[in-house]
């Protein structure tokens, strides 16, 4: 998963995976979280999710959390401080974008 270098924007997949790991979560939980919180607008494929998790682990934005549940092979992940920084940066970027768009499209006086 590549991010836009110039704008610093995260892909939607990346951002959503980061948000879903604020509380420790496993693959299936992440998929359900995203589906639920976007009201089914974003449905993450298992292949894409696997790639996204591995990329984020490699970047140290999320990290494996504890041991896998006994008797199952479900690995759990949790967001790191670096990941939180990136998510906050993205939130600020979106706020700025939201302000701009509201001003232009919504005609808000600002």
């Amino acid at each position: 998963m590549r991010e836009h270098i110039a704008g610093g924007a995260l892909t939607e997949t990346t951002f959503l995976v980061l948000l879903s790991t604020y509380t420790p979560n496993h693959g299936y939980g992440i998929m359900q979280f995203i589906e639920r919180e976007t009201h089914g607008r974003v449905l993450l494929g298992a292949g894409t999710l696997y790639g996204a998790i591995n990329t984020l682990v490699k970047k140290k934005w999320i990290a494996p959390f504890g041991d896998a549940e006994p008797g199952s092979n479900k690995k759990t992940y949790v967001i790191t401080d670096l990941g939180k920084q990136m998510a906050e940066k993205e939130l600020n970027r979106l706020r700025e974008l939201y302000g701009l768009a509201s001003r232009i499209i919504g005609g808000e006086p600002k």
Binding site: H26, V42, K74
Partner: protein, 202 residues
Amino acid sequence: MKKRVFRYFFDFTDGQEKWLNEMAAKGWRLVKCGQLTYDFERCEPGEYEYAVEFVADKSYAKSRDYKAFLESMGYKTFYKNVYVGIFFGIKWRPWGEGAGQIATAPGSLRKELIIVEKKNDGKSFEFHTDLTDLLTLYRKIRMAYFWYAGGMFAFALLLLFYAVRTNSLYGVGCGTLRGARVPVAHTGFEDFAKSPKTQGRS
């Protein structure tokens, strides 16, 4: 009720996936797959859905990790081959990723694909929902095809070159090993050919 079908797919991802889904729509569920066979048993038409994942670029450890991940998502998985063979084998995959460049059997060789089965729940069964992810995947598959097609082309060219060369230079039967060796014996290699080391050969 069970049945066994013999099949091989050159269009190993999309073509195979489409066929498995057609079988499932007709009420046949995959229970086992061999190198060229598929065993099915009866199920409700449309009860299951299939996706075929390309993992030949991954090392065996990584492909198993992915398989375990898919199983933890609640899917059933099968390993499936693209490469056909029955002996111990080792293969170089120049397009592979890291340790995925070397495939051995037993190991990742003949486990180039993962067939994933999901119980149909009305939701989409797209595996790659991100555009960059999809592009990366197709790039990998294209590289695999490219190396195999290129390899075969190079091999054909070599054979052709060999046949033409032996034919035009020596006027011997096209490409037989004996034909190629006879003239070599007249060009200073006679002693070598007669040396005790090579006596046993003919």
